[in-house]
Structure formats: structure tokens, C-alpha cells
Assembly symmetry: C2
Homo-oligomer: 154 residues x 2
């Protein structure tokens, strides 16, 4: 397991590729963001964007999926997150895009009120032509290493 | 249709209720945020949170669904959004919660570079016991009223 104490500012976590399909764009948006440019290819062609584009919330959900893979691979003791400090959707995500990216540890600090650590992360995700599609700044909560002899499952 | 020119600072848009089920929490998280406390009720009981909780990204997707309903009802000419300025997940969203809320127009300004308007919105969503579960600050892009005689579909 990788605990808060094992995370250092400057670390870069690689985010593996994720392909984006028109079907998934439409399925997500039908449920959560049914605006014409997210669910209707013909209406999208007439829109400001010119093609179907993913909801920014769908993009962020896919980025979270990439981060969750990375948490699992590293066996990071993630305890969730209190929010987002800033998110910029820079370039629309379109059907056929292949996303990949990185999360950079900007800072770490122990929580003042709880037995956990707080990690400030900048997550940057790019499409297959290397345009940055989203940049997300936020703080994650991570478990601290159990002291020797304590009940590690507590 | 309600255009940028029809939106005024101080307006409050009502966000209609949305029920949260364990099935939907697990389905979303399985695809986008497969951490144990989002997908496995038993593991969640042993976690920091004590029960299954919705991914914050799922909460935000549901909030977007409520906003999209509100855009449709008001016939707002929404052109999407460039990002989020701040998001705070204040209280976990759990199975059985019923969410509702409001979006308050904090400020409006014409875009300096494009024929559209920018609306700063604070979105606050509460559960059925009136605890605020999320607060989201962001900017949305809205279409401007076509001038008389112009092609309104352009």
C-alpha cells in the first residue's frame, strides 16, 4: 500500500489512455446533460461546436476513471476528495478522441483535524493530437501509515 | 427562448428534485470511479464514510441533469461552459437521498471575444434533510438575442 507519507510533491502519476465513443457521449449525456450538442449528432453539426461533443461532466468522469485506475495500480490509500479548486475545459472532447495525461503532486500536508493527509493535485488530460482538453486542480484525502502494532484495518 | 439579455444578476433558478438510488451510485462508479466506498456496500461500511456514497463526479452529473432540466424549462439558449471555478462536496450523497436546490445568477457580462454572454452561476444542492451536499461556482455561455431581420437559426 502507498500511504500519504509515501507521496511527495513533484511526483507525476501517468494516466492511461481512454477512448471516447459517440455511443458513450450520447449515453452519458442522455442521463445527465441532455443538451442537443451532446446527444444529437445532427443538431450538434448546426451548433456552435460543429460536431457532437462530450459533456464536460462526462470528460471529468472519464478523467476520474483514469485516476481511479492509477490509484489502484499504485495501491494508493485514497479516502476521496472534498472538492475541486478549478477546472477548465479547454478543447471539446469528440467521438474518436483518445485521452491520456498526467496528475502532478503540487503539495502535501497533514490534515489539521483528522488522521489523514491532503494532497494537492493538478490533473492534465490531452487528446490524441496532444491538445490539452482539461486541467483540473483539486485536493485529495489519503490515509496515513498505521503505526506499528496498531490495528491496520481500523 | 430566453437569451443572455434576458438573464439578470440576482435571479434564482429552481432545481427540481432528483432521487438517488444505490443501483445508480454503483452503476456510475463502476464505470467512472470504482473505489470501494462507491461500488461495494460492505466495503463502504468498513470505510471512513460508513455507508455507500455517491462519487462526487456522480453528484455533479446529477446536478448537471437538474440544471439541464431547468435550461429546457426556461428555454435558455445555453452554449455550454468553459469550466468550474470552485466545487465543494460538503456532505456525502447516500442511497435514498432526494436532492433539490437552486442556481443563483451572481453576475452577467458580454463576452469580449465572441457573440455570446457569460453568466456566473452559484449552484447549491441540498438533500432531503436540508443539508447542503454540494456548492458549485462556474461560468456558463449563453446565446445573445438575434437582431431583428437576421437569420435566427445562424
Amino acid at each position: 500500500m502507498k500511504y500519504f507519507e509515501d507521496i511527495a510533491a513533484g511526483e507525476v502519476w501517468r494516466l492511461d489512455r481512454r477512448e471516447v465513443s459517440a455511443e458513450e457521449i450520447i449515453a452519458f449525456a442522455t442521463k445527465y446533460d441532455p443538451q442537443p450538442f451532446h446527444i444529437d449528432a445532427e443538431a450538434a453539426e448546426q451548433s456552435f461546436f460543429g460536431t457532437l461533443i462530450a459533456s464536460g461532466w462526462h470528460t471529468n468522469a472519464m478523467v476520474m476513471g483514469m485516476l481511479a485506475d492509477c490509484i489502484k495500480t499504485q495501491q494508493l490509500v485514497s479516502l476521496g476528495a472534498p472538492g475541486i479548486d478549478q477546472c477548465r475545459w479547454l478543447v471539446p472532447v469528440r467521438p474518436g478522441d483518445v485521452l491520456s495525461g498526467r496528475a502532478t503532486v503540487m503539495a502535501t500536508r497533514p490534515s489539521a483535524s483528522r488522521p489523514m493527509g491532503l494532497v494537492t493535485l493538478r490533473t492534465e488530460v490531452f487528446n490524441h493530437v496532444d491538445a490539452k482538453v482539461v486541467q483540473l486542480d483539486g485536493v485529495g484525502m489519503y490515509g496515513i501509515r498505521p503505526s506499528p502494532g496498531s490495528d491496520a484495518t481500523a
